[in-house]
């Protein structure tokens, strides 16, 4: 009897499996209607990332056919832009946990989080949108490391994330809530790790539909056209600061702007509007009232 108990594999300290719906009480305006152009707040970006975002033209998504069905990376998917399903893969013979699998509505994205101790692929291996993920238990917290990501974005207003980034997640479950703290380290575009958190609630009744996507030329253009603003020529960069009464420099991102000490530096320059006019109670798709702009 004792021997039989010893043979029971300790596969999952916490059960993450099930259907999860994203909660948007954090960063709702960025995650639901989408980020404002020129909003780089809370991002420890370097000058390269800032210039990439400043010159980004969102026409690229439609004009470049290969961008029309370009998915979010694994890191951006965890911003909770669609519902999430998690299930386990168990080895039938050993009953050990081999992997968690996730599925999200957006681009039918599926990810495997290997739990069997396998190494990450060599540097020459291809990169994918979801990358290569391995997980380890830290008590009841699952820590996941993802490498081999394709180039994607930190924020979908053109702030880039490189294919050299390492994405770390800490999954924690409290009752019917799943909290995911994410850390992105990107030697190409970040000067320090970008730490964010997202929450999900258990939603056993949800149905995740089929996404589907087929690219098609939408506008006539010469082959190889890549829409971009010339440096210094993007007319939209100051709009965000104007709408929210922020000093322009505070919207430009960078590690310095992320910490409380920065408030002293811009003291007297922040003049919030008397009445909120944009995405004022934006914590769900209905609340965001996208026509209220």
């Amino acid at each position: 009897m004792f021997a039989a108990l010893l043979a029971v594999p300790a596969f999952a300290q916490v059960d993450f499996t099930g259907e999860w719906a994203p909660l948007y009480h954090e960063d709702g305006p960025e995650r639901l209607p989408g980020p404002e152009l020129g909003d780089y707040t809370e991002l420890p970006i370097n000058a390269a990332a800032r210039m990439a975002a400043d010159t980004y033209d969102a026409d690229r998504i439609s004009v470049v056919p290969e961008y029309q069905c370009r998915p979010h990376g694994a890191d951006y998917s965890m911003r909770g832009l669609g519902n999430l399903r998690i299930w386990q893969e168990i080895d039938q013979n050993s009953q050990k946990l081999i992997a968690f699998h996730t599925h999200m509505l957006a681009w039918d994205s599926e990810r495997t989080i290997w739990m069997d101790g396998r190494p990450h692929p060599p540097a020459y291996a291809p990169h994918t949108w979801q990358g290569f993920s391995t997980g380890v238990w830290d008590g009841n917290m699952l820590t996941i490391t993802t490498t081999h990501l394709k180039v994607n974005y930190l924020r979908r207003n053109g702030v880039p994330r490189s294919d050299k980034a390492i994405f770390t997640e800490h999954w924690m479950r409290h009752g019917d809530y799943l909290t995911v703290v994410t850390v992105i380290e990107d030697p190409v575009y970040l000067t320090e790790p970008l730490v964010r958190s997202d929450n999900w609630s258990l939603d056993p009744g949800q149905n995740i539909g089929i996404f589907g996507c087929e690219y098609a030329p939408e506008v006539p253009r010469p082959e190889g056209t890549v829409p971009a603003h010339l440096p210094g020529n993007n007319p939209y960069l100051r709009e965000f600061a104007g709408w929210y009464g922020l000093p322009y420099e505070a919207t430009r991102g960078g590690a310095e702007t992320m910490y409380p000490e920065y408030m002293k530096k811009i003291a007297g320059e922040y003049h919030p509007p008397a009445k909120c006019s944009r995405y004022c109670k934006c914590t769900s798709l209905f609340d965001c009232n996208l026509n209220s702009k």
Binding site: A48, R60, E66, D108, Y124, P126, S162, K164, T225
Partner: protein, 322 residues
Amino acid sequence: MDNLLSRTRHQAVFVFFAAAVVCWAQPQINPDNVKLTMAHVQGSVYVLMGDGGNITVQVGKDGVAMVDTGFAPLAVKAMAEIRKLNTGPVVWIVNTHVHTDHTGGNAEIMKLGMTRESVGPPRLVAQSNVLNRMSGPQPNGAPPIPEAAWPNDEYFLPTKDFFFNSEAVIVYHVPNAHTDGDSLVFFRRSDVLSTGDIFTPEHYPIIDLARGGSVEGEIKGLNQIIDITVPAKYQEGGTMVIPGHGRLCDEADVVEYRNMVTIIRDRLVDMIHRGMTLEQVKAAKPTLDYDTQYGATSGIWTTDMFVEAAYKSLSTKTVSEK
């Protein structure tokens, strides 16, 4: 005539640049210190990675086909790795361009690749400009390249194809991109495209002006790669791409690289049209957003060298347009 003179002046300026490329192509390499890694790509196609350019290897019942042969000192070691996959004769070799990090092993592989089954030496395919440059005087007084290393099956039409190991292999000439003799090699059944140095995701593209390279040709080449490749679901996988240097890629990776070169081209053209000098352009840092990904301040191909080559390539075109 003015345009011709202008172009000639640019070429003269780049003799030094060409010499630098040659120096990079004739390194002192101790094979014992180099690790070569053979990786399966898909279908019948593998890639051999190490110092020098990537070597594409296709194997099957008919023997071995190769794209590029790497640095000369590594040829024996490379062949030993290939023999672990297939003991048949090397029947086809395609050189994607003239630089010796891709052609240095030609002569040795031509010898080592022959077996009892061989009906002759391997067919060494390259665009005719590769043969012209290998058989002609070498820049900067470099020693001549031995005839045994020259292509023996050059082509001058836009494409050449052959059927080997149960699949069609299509060679596409890309004019005036990295050099004037660039070829893409598409293994149609395996669905693998070998690009040579038109696509080098580890650094900015090397525009070898002295050997006929140009920014516009480079962009056309990258767009041609995107035309040939077909991704699987949601822009991932499908046709796999073996770059001249660096990791395995697919179309989406090439798109990012094409976007980069195109965006920088557009910026430089704007600056040239505004009358900015090369020094003014460099001071404006037109590649700042890409430098942390593709740039370098030392080594064989620095950011400054890329900007200078691109500026001169586009200035020549701009003068021609006038």
